[in-house]
Symmetry: C2
Subunit: 262 residues, 2 copies
Amino acid sequence: MNALPITFIGAGNVGTHLARRFHDTGFRVVQVFSRDKSKAEALAGSIGADAVDQLSGIVAHTGLYILAVRDDAIAEIGGQLADVGIRDGLFAHTSGATPASVLQPYFGRFGIFYPLQTFSPQRTPDFLDIPICIQASVPEDESLLKTIACAVGKQAVVMEERQRIALHVAAVFVNNFSNYLYQRGQHILEKEELSFDLLLPLIRETAEKVRHLPPNAAQTGPAVRGDKKTIARHLEYLQETPDDAALYETMTRLIVNAAKKK
Amino acid sequence: MNALPITFIGAGNVGTHLARRFHDTGFRVVQVFSRDKSKAEALAGSIGADAVDQLSGIVAHTGLYILAVRDDAIAEIGGQLADVGIRDGLFAHTSGATPASVLQPYFGRFGIFYPLQTFSPQRTPDFLDIPICIQASVPEDESLLKTIACAVGKQAVVMEERQRIALHVAAVFVNNFSNYLYQRGQHILEKEELSFDLLLPLIRETAEKVRHLPPNAAQTGPAVRGDKKTIARHLEYLQETPDDAALYETMTRLIVNAAKKK
């Protein structure tokens, strides 16, 4: 297994963290491709791989190619790889939102290797905590990707297209949208000359609580309590920021409705 | 200081956790009042205090009375305490959204002791991580509450009425509203027969990331990237749940606008 040659296409956030993790868990990353030569070299150099910034420099093998590129570049780079004769391995992209089938025109063996986490350059992810979503066009490749996912991540989750899209939507809700709410908290505190740090313990506890209590049971606050006086005070405070006030009203209505349905 | 007699009015979530913490850090809680006798007894018994379920049983002293009751009951209970001759101590309520002034008609010394955290019966809060917001009608009482807050919590933050309301609004955004987004994640995953546990590492990392990176810098995802194809796929997935689709569109628009302003 660990003799399997692995090529990384893309040296951005996901590519970098993933390639390092592959290397750290004993896999053999042979090449890192990025059109940005310095990025390819930085990543390749740190994991004993060769850097390549031209498609023609990519070596053909029957191992695994990980396509860790922008969602809208996956199909394009697939076509370009096929054009330069790189077609015979297993080609897996790392996107939660892009169908595996965008690779079908170019390759016989293709699939998904989607780590469900938010990656940033500044932080080293804890892969032991990351589920990896798997899909493959061929049963043997599903097994292969599962084995690899279990080695580098917390668990391998084989899922269908629709399930993965759903999971990606859910990830946008809990990650992107929550982070936007943190932004509004930051904005409000800055306006009042208070430190955003004051909110950090609450943010952490909100996230930790749902490890032990399902979120519909963990819901607290004026909306679910039906505390109209507090809601009115909050809306009065928010009257100078109409977008925040509108979002507050929408969220309050949705929380009230969700509580009714329980 | 630790000889100061402290009476807890209310034995709900906040009252219980706070009274236990006072006791654990060496303060002398003399009485716990709750109209629910069993609640008063359960809390009082665990911290060596007397339980009382009648207002007439509350002992007058010049120490501290913590009013940990529902927001809309604070003024009422204040009036009732004054009526039975309990007027001479310092009366502090624990609400983030209620003005200190609701206590003014009844007491010469009044204020706020508001721990900024979400409390639930099932979880023991880490008070060493909790900022406590302070306000007092008399400078000496501000000092007193500061000293107590520093002893039981992470830090004492003296703030004005408007700042505390703002902080409470911000808390609703990062806690109540984020938790609602977790609810939606839970709902989507249940529908697809996937475990909500899959999202827990992402939820945790989202919350941890803003300890190191301000939330406006931590924003990722299709909205901030302007990835219209992914947004369209997500909205297509959400078409059976119009409330989710509408919230997705609102959030996406707000994230795009916030990114423009940067």
